[in-house]
């Protein structure tokens, strides 16, 4: 009995200790690569969104849910992450549907160009924030690069152990909880860097999207159909990476074949009023706040006009929640104005 107690207590202390160490070693994504914290933040939001965006940086840097709310009363959330691959989008959608059933899902099709896993660090940022479920398990299995091990996702300490000489005070401050970095999934930037000399992509030997990409696009389509969700495919108005005409045609054809809406915003920049002199912060890859507001204004109108999504500004509880986000959002604008020395 005494022995049993000894062993039990040792095990408990041992496991608790390892858990604590693991929490310390996990990257906190607070200061620099804030994008890494987006996926996890979703779970803190009340899951009754009407519109959910899935996709890569072209969704979380180009659309502003706050603007959609303020202007149209659209309650939306962006489940975006850096270089989110199409199967990651699919499994994130599967995961989202465990909590809520939005009326509209918006998917940015740039990731169709990646047929295989690309980069371990991006995978981690897209996957690690997910809560454990079969969707996460399948997501990991679909995303792992060579030399990666599933067990390193279950016990991320095995992956991040070598951070011991990179630990900062943040790693201890935010052991259990990290502050929110996004505004309903939106990553805000207000600085400007005009787009110029954006090169065309080099000629490719094969413009057809890969089988794997189509397989998951089919799955996204089916998942939405099965759940009575309207799926809207978009290509965000980012000038780079280059979006080939041949790629666009495939998406047009796919949308037609599956009775979906596909909007290539690259063709609508004039109509939307995007000015690549001022509306981008990195030379045409991503829009800044001013660009995101224009794009959101345009797209919000489309959603209100063409889908079942309605204005919910009348809901007191929801409005109150948004007001809090809006306050933080405005504060961030002020902060960035100071950071980038911008005066109105």
């Amino acid at each position: 009995m005494k022995n049993f107690l000894k062993i039990t207590i040792s095990l408990l202390i041992g496991i608790a200790g390892l858990f604590l160490i693991q929490r310390i070693f996990l990257p906190k994504y607070t200061k620099d690569v804030v994008e890494g914290s987006f996926i996890e933040e979703y779970y803190d939001d009340k899951p009754d969104h009407d519109v959910v965006f899935i996709g890569d940086c072209e969704v979380y840097e180009n659309f502003s849910p706050v603007e959609l709310w303020q202007k149209y009363g659209i309650n939306s959330y962006i489940r975006g992450s850096a270089q989110q691959l199409i199967w990651q989008s699919y499994y994130l959608l599967e995961d989202t549907l465990k909590y809520e059933k939005p009326k509209v899902v918006v998917f940015n099709v740039l990731s169709m160009k990646y047929n295989e896993p690309q980069n371990e660090a991006y995978n981690r940022m897209s996957i690690e924030g997910m809560r454990w479920s079969m969707s996460k398990v399948n997501n990991i299995n679909a995303s792992m690069m060579e030399d990666e091990h599933f067990v390193e996702y279950v016990f991320p300490l095995l992956r991040y152990h070598s951070r011991w000489n990179d630990l900062t005070s943040d790693d201890f401050t935010y052991i259990f909880d990290t502050p929110h970095e996004s505004f309903k999934g939106y990553y805000m930037r207000i600085d400007e860097k005009a787009a110029s000399n954006v090169p065309e992509g080099p000629a490719l030997t094969d413009y057809n999207f890969g089988e794997n990409s189509y397989y998951y696009l089919d799955k996204i389509t089916k998942l939405c159909k099965d759940n009575d969700i309207e799926l809207i495919l978009i290509k965000a108005p980012s000038l780079y990476p280059y979006w080939y005409d041949q790629w666009d045609k495939q998406m047009v054809d796919y949308a037609k074949e599956h009775d979906l809406t596909y909007i290539n915003f690259l063709e609508l920049t004039d109509e939307i009023g995007i000015d690549f002199e001022h509306d981008t912060y990195d030379g045409g890859l991503h829009l800044n706040l001013s660009g995101a507001i224009k794009l959101s204004d345009y797209f919000g109108q489309y959603i209100i006009d063409n889908t079942a999504v309605t204005d919910r500004r009348g809901e007191a509880e929801l409005s109150a929640k948004w007001d809090k986000v809006i306050a933080e959002y405005n504060q961030e604008i002020e902060n960035q104005k100071k950071e980038y020395n911008i005066t109105d």
């Binding site: 390892l18 160490i21 992956r159 152990h161």
Partner: protein, 530 residues
Amino acid sequence: MLFASYEFIGFVLVLFALYYLVPKRCQWPLLLIASYVFYFLANPWYLVFITVTSLTVYGCGLWMGKIAATQKEYLSKNKENLSKEDKKTYKNQMKQKKWRVLLLGLLFNLGILAVIKYTNFTIYNINSLLHIFGSKARIGFIDILMPMGISFYTFQALSYLIDTYRGTVEPEKNVFKFALFVSFFPQLVQGPISRFGDLSKTLYSKHKFDGKNVAFGFQRILYGYFKKLVVADRMLIAVKAIIAAPENYQGAYVFVGMIFYALELYADFTGGIDITIGIAQVLGIEVTENFRRPFFSKNIKEYWNRWHITMGTWFTEYIFYPISVCKPMLKFSKFSRKHFGDVIGKRMPVYLASFVVWFATGIWHGASWNFIVWGLGNFVVIMISQELEPLYRKFHNRFHVDGHTSYKAFCVIRTFLLMSALRTFDCYRDVPLTFRMFGTIFTNWNWHILWDGSLLSLGLSLYDYIILAVCVVILTSVSLAGRTGSVREKLLKKPYPVRFVIFYGLLVCIIIFGAYGIGFDASQFIYNQF
């Protein structure tokens, strides 16, 4: 499945659980299954090789056993009828018969080993000769599958064969038990090379769960992983950087590489053996020790009695002694004493036998000239120190340094440096290059690299060097503590919380400071390739 892989750790943990859950009579069959699964997972074809070796050696063993039994029966039946002479003739006849069976087993299995390991080396040498004689003809290399640990299990099986011939062990009747002896997975990859008489004592017995034994086993496994992951794999990064760019890293770098390689090899190899012996201990099985603090040796001969002991014993038992006492050698001994006088004549046969042993040791490590040169390097150093022995003794007597701590330390360091220097042959794996690089230690005077930050270009950060320094202190302290008995027994006397902190700390150290995962090269245990 490498020792340092998640799969292996999972495999072993599941096996441990099953081992103590199944009925005790099923324990050794379970080990056999596990060993074959382990080997199968490495490559299904490996099983063919190990099965053939197991079956042929088993068969030869039985055959020799039968001859011995017939002999015994015949002699006891005809005790009265036979004269002493007759008995002797009969015994000789039977010995001849056994000898033929032994030879068959030896040649067949060494043949497999030779073909697999040395065909391409032979082709390489023939091609070199053709080149020397100006011929343009070349023989193409052959793609041969080399079963993991073939040198180890073949030697282990052959030791059984020879022991059976000598009558020191009874032939094993159960073919499955014998197959387990050959394939026992913890030692399959890198030894130790166990002898049947030793391993069989505990391999097949029924084992009750013994808390202390299991805890000790786990402790040893932990220590093994610590050596392997924290020390060896970290040092390997610097060693690889140095040997990959001989043009950039010369002089003091070569010296640093030499020391690091010695330490890395030590941590890697002894760490692996710790894991092997630890696993066996958890299973209640005793495996022969393979190291006894080798870096504390005061001369090379002593070093070889303490480093890779089972291999050294194998070569001594099965090559050195038989050669020393075989008939041609005795003849040679007589001949040389007659022609060269007593002083040299007496030494000639010993030298010849030693030469053969060291040549074999070299080529056993790998089919290339660097290993042969390395083996013969050891031979030369041992012979020289033996010849200088009288001189040393004079020196000792004159200056009364014997027993002096500082002199002992000098001897230890000297031996360590000498062994490390010889090891550079298997570092660069290119004999002329090794000589050239070694020469730069003396010609390229750049010792400032030791303190001017140049060492940070080898892929290790300052923190890594600090970790390594601390680890070397830990390894040395543990070794020193081990001189007066088992360290784990000593720790057992400490209060439980102290022990808990030590071993939990060790585990956390391995997890955090281990040089594994993305960013670190997964390096195999160095001895896998032999």
